[in-house]
């Protein structure tokens, strides 16, 4: 087998050195009743060529060749070539977690830069080395808030990504963490601040909102912070569209920012691997989950980096750790780091402006459900979202996400996204198909 580097002669020498006649003998101490007495029922190994062919076939049975207008937490942005060039280097790809600082300065330095750039983007003081993704960063942030406030309750806005809320519910349920939801304003799509006022109480550890929210609306972070802080709760601000940080004022009023970096050159890849982040204020640093890289010096006085504050972590603290997270998303975070480097200060702004322009061009042609300001996603009104999407598929266009799936009251609405990758021609086609919707679908599409 091509991944096993020994010749039979070498194996024989090694077996001899071990004093056994075959490798099987090395397993002779295993109780007979647990031994598998047949070969694994898996096909014989195949060549590299056949492997490539197999996955090419799988890829062909997919949406290649379609133009998409889906966002909803996963965005189609251009991936600069440098990103894969860098992460394909074996030194990054095939190294372990940088516990041995002397021979891991490459990874450690890039993580330090990553943490710094996330702080600059979010307006926070400290950021960790990454979480699994945005959805798991949310319950980790909630648990962090519970530790920091000594309270247990969590209030989450219904305009936070529905799947993130589902993940939060799973964690909360088994932590015994009371979890409640508050609403959005039916006209603007922004937070229903009155509902938040009604539901928040002195046991609330955290208020969780998202901006831009799941409907694409740039939300009222300051107002939510004011309400949360007045009642002694922390405000957690979630983001799913990191490119928006290039143009939106950072949520300086937040106590914790929990987000998803998929937009930064991370392939949609059917939902993962992505990279989440948690950023916060300096005073909560010891409550943070996950790995952190810090600056220090080596014994010769040179600048060096190492993993730090690990007394928060499971391998030291065991059941008293701030989280059970161990492996995170280092290589994916590196993709984001290269992306941020390639675009830089000006590029990220320009990219965000292009997204803004594209989405507003498309939105200008469609009936909008909400009136709140939006970045590159918005909700359009349509009588039969599924029928519309079917019609679009015939034109090789994947339309928006029908919202009835997550919001029964929004059955007549779909969430659409236009990034810098959205071609004007397809946007025009989509608008045309839209304008003929509202008519019973069987008349139009049969």
């Amino acid at each position: 087998m091509r991944y096993l580097p020994k010749s039979d002669a070498e194996r024989r020498q090694m077996l001899e050195a071990c004093g056994v006649a075959s490798a099987e003998e090395l397993f002779s101490h295993l109780p007979d009743e647990v031994r598998l007495k047949r070969p694994l029922d898996l096909p014989a190994g195949i060549s590299e060529y056949e492997i490539v062919q197999y996955f090419r076939d799988c890829g062909a049975a997919s949406a290649a060749g379609y133009t998409g207008f889906l966002g909803a937490g996963v965005y189609a942005h251009y991936r600069p070539v440098l990103v894969d060039t860098v992460v394909s280097r074996g030194e990054y790809l095939t190294s372990y977690t940088p516990y041995q600082a002397e021979i891991s300065q490459g990874t450690l330095t890039t993580i330090f830069e990553f943490q710094s750039m996330i702080c600059q983007l979010t307006g926070m003081d400290v950021a960790n080395a990454s979480m699994y993704d945005g959805s798991t960063a949310v319950p980790e942030a909630a648990m962090m808030a519970a530790r920091a406030t000594g309270r247990g309750g969590v209030l989450v806005a219904r305009s936070v990504h529905p799947e993130y809320r589902e993940v939060l519910a799973t964690y909360a349920r088994y932590q015994g963490m009371p979890l409640a939801e508050f609403g959005y304003h039916p006209e603007t799509g922004a937070l229903d601040l009155e509902d938040l006022e009604r539901q928040i109480n002195d046991l609330t550890a955290a208020v969780i909102i998202q901006s831009p929210n799941f409907f694409g609306v740039v939300d009222q972070v300051r107002a939510a912070a004011e309400i949360a802080h007045r009642r002694g709760a922390l405000l957690i601000v979630v983001f799913t569209e990191a490119v928006s940080l290039g143009i939106l004022e950072p949520s300086a009023a937040a106590d914790i920012v929990a987000g998803e970096l998929q937009s930064f050159a991370i392939s949609p890849s059917y939902g993962g691997p992505f990279a989440g982040i948690i950023a916060t204020r300096e005073k909560f640093i010891r409550q943070m989950p996950g790995r952190l890289v810090g600056e220090t010096k080596d014994s010769r006085g040179n600048r060096a980096f190492c993993l730090t504050l690990s007394t928060r972590e499971q391998h030291i603290r065991r059941e008293k750790a701030t989280s059970n997270i161990c492996t995170n998303q280092a290589l994916i975070a590196l993709m984001a780091t290269v992306f941020m480097t390639v675009y830089g200060k000006q590029g990220l702004r320009e990219l965000a402006e292009q997204n803004l322009a594209k989405a507003h061009y498309l939105a200008g042609k469609l009936p909008l459900r909400f009136s709140g300001p939006f970045f590159n996603e918005f909700v359009a009104r349509v009588e039969d979202p599924d029928g519309l999407n079917k019609a679009l598929l015939k034109k090789k266009i994947i339309g928006g996400l029908p919202l009835g799936r997550f919001y029964p009251e929004l059955k007549d609405a779909m969430l659409l996204c236009a990034t810098e990758m959205a071609p004007r021609k397809e946007m025009d086609v989509l608008a045309e198909v839209f304008s003929s919707a509202g008519v019973p679908s069987r008349l139009v599409f049969s």
């Binding site: 190994g45 799973t170 600056e295 322009a357």
Partner: protein, 501 residues
């Protein structure tokens, strides 16, 4: 003994991005905008528009690639040589797996695109599920968890949900003192108290102690098999019976599954629920600390509780099934670290059933070969037959004032990554060595020679070992100061940062 594997090479200095930055430099060009521009203040409200991203870097494309390339050379990697981290399983990462994970129709698949246009991606997942079930002997598997520790949490939540449904979630999780730190941390997050179980004098599960500990309050025992000494828990089937008699479950940490594939199956020795680390057993790259993949495999009794959605066959098509009333819910958005799943399947396809078994044989042979070569020089506190890894102690060397951490650092000078230091905790001053199946005889011989040579240095010149490494561009790092006064982000003119030296 001379150091054979390495000699000095030019190592370039490199500043931080922020120090390289100057206004107006750019490494990008956007296409021309084909729609009218929009005034941000008008569209978003002036108060919502940021002035600038303060401190964000501005560098050219050439500088960007040199930056990341120069930094990369400061790393050790499997591609350079053996990476014998016990328990972490650093094996070769086949490059074809990277290629196929980037197949356009898979890499650009949106999780909400129609199922009819996602059949290829779903087929990949279904095929991986089937292979993992055959390998583990379990009944059902979820691919949703993002890494091993995330899989542990999922697994323990499954136990909790199942016991809750039976009327009582119970209070405690039993964990041997040789376990990974993630095990107790996981139990705590799942709302359980942790009771540590002392290992027997042989370093394995102590049946008598366990018999005492397993009460009606115990939800599960979390056990790693082979354990962190690399020793197969020979009583595992009896342990399972003992737990089941009291209505508790057996959780297996699958970190060491690479010692078992094709030889024995957890499903056949009484395990109820387990996770797999795709970056250990199935060769997906560690990438400097992730991404991983932590599938959780269960017996039938736990299947109703698996996270939503579940893959389901509907006629000739795959579909996602969300209608599962007993499910613990989601543990992650979407369907899992799909790109990692692609790589794991590619690895399984390359090996095939027989190949996977041969990989296990070679992994165990390599560990036993190193044990034979090193046993005369290092103490082996638990001399049971070992499987894929071997754990020595620094007892002999510490008499000369040299600890396992020092020996590990000295290995760097010989051109090797250190082994796992000071773990498992039941071994005082542990040297935990796992070569994996992807090391050849030459590399193993050089590694053994290096450790033998260091053992001699410990006798002749202990300070040489204690002050190692001597050949790296960065010498021993002051981790104490880093933790005492944490500097975890770059700031202009802060902390005396100068161009890296």
């Amino acid at each position: 003994m001379s150091i054979q594997k390495v000699r000095a090479h030019i190592s370039q200095n490199e500043a931080l991005l922020f120090e390289r930055s100057s206004p107006g430099k750019r490494g990008y060009q956007l296409p021309g905008l084909d729609v009218p521009p929009v005034d941000p203040a008008a569209a978003l409200g002036a108060e919502n528009v940021r002035v600038e991203i303060e401190g964000f870097p501005e560098v050219s494309e050439v500088e960007a690639i040199r930056h990341f390339t120069r930094l990369s050379t400061w790393n050790y990697a499997i591609d350079y040589g053996m990476y014998p981290l016990g328990s972490c399983t650093m094996k070769y990462n086949p490059r074809v797996n990277e290629l196929v994970a980037r197949t356009e129709g898979l890499a650009w698949a949106h999780p909400y695109q129609p199922e009819a246009l996602s059949q290829g991606a779903m087929e990949v997942m279904a095929r991986l599920e089937a292979a993992l079930l055959e390998i583990t002997g379990m009944d059902a598997v979820t691919l949703q968890p993002a890494a091993g520790a995330h899989g542990e949490l999922t697994g323990i939540l499954l136990v909790r949900a199942c016991l809750e449904k039976r009327g009582n979630p119970r209070k405690k999780i039993l964990i041997p003192d040789s376990a990974h730190g993630t095990n107790p941390a996981t139990a705590a997050i799942a709302g359980y108290a942790v009771e540590n179980i002392r290992s027997s004098e042989r370093g394995t599960l102590d049946l008598a102690a366990l018999e005492q500990a397993v009460t009606e309050e115990v939800a599960a025992l979390m056990v790693t098999n082979p354990n962190t000494l690399g020793v197969f828990e020979e009583n595992i089937a009896r342990v399972s019976e003992l737990l089941h008699r009291k209505g508790a479950m057996l959780y297996m940490d699958g970190a060491n599954m690479n010692a078992l594939v094709g030889i024995t199956r957890p499903g056949d020795f009484g395990v109820d629920v387990m996770h797999l680390n795709l970056h250990k057993t199935f060769s997906t790259p560690h990438g400097g600390g992730g991404p991983g993949g932590g599938p959780v495999a269960v017996k039938k009794v736990l299947e109703p509780f698996l996270p939503v959605p579940r893959l389901k066959r509907a006629g000739k098509k795959w579909t996602w099934n969300y209608k599962r009333p007993d499910s613990i819910g989601r543990v992650r958005a979407f369907y899992g670290n799909f790109g990692v799943l692609v790589r794991a399947l590619a690895y399984i396809l390359a090996h095939g059933g027989e190949g996977l078994r041969n990989a296990t044989l070679d992994a165990v042979l390599n560990a036993n070969y190193l044990r034979k070569k090193l046993e005369p020089y290092f103490d082996l506190p638990y001399p049971l037959p070992n499987m894929h890894e071997v754990v020595f102690s620094d007892d002999r060397q510490s008499r000369r004032g040299v600890r396992t951490g020092d020996i590990a650092k000295r290995l760097i000078d010989y051109g090797f990554h250190p082994y796992t230091v000071s773990f498992p905790l039941i071994v005082h001053g542990a040297l935990m060595i796992e070569p994996t199946e992807t090391e050849g005889k030459l590399e193993l011989d050089q590694f053994a020679d290096a450790l033998v040579s260091i053992a001699a240095e410990v006798e002749s010149d202990p300070d040489l070992v204690k002050s190692a490494p001597h050949s790296t561009r960065t010498s021993r790092v002051d981790e104490v100061t880093a933790a005492r006064r944490p500097v975890v982000r770059w700031k202009p003119a802060s902390t005396g940062s100068q161009a890296a030296g």
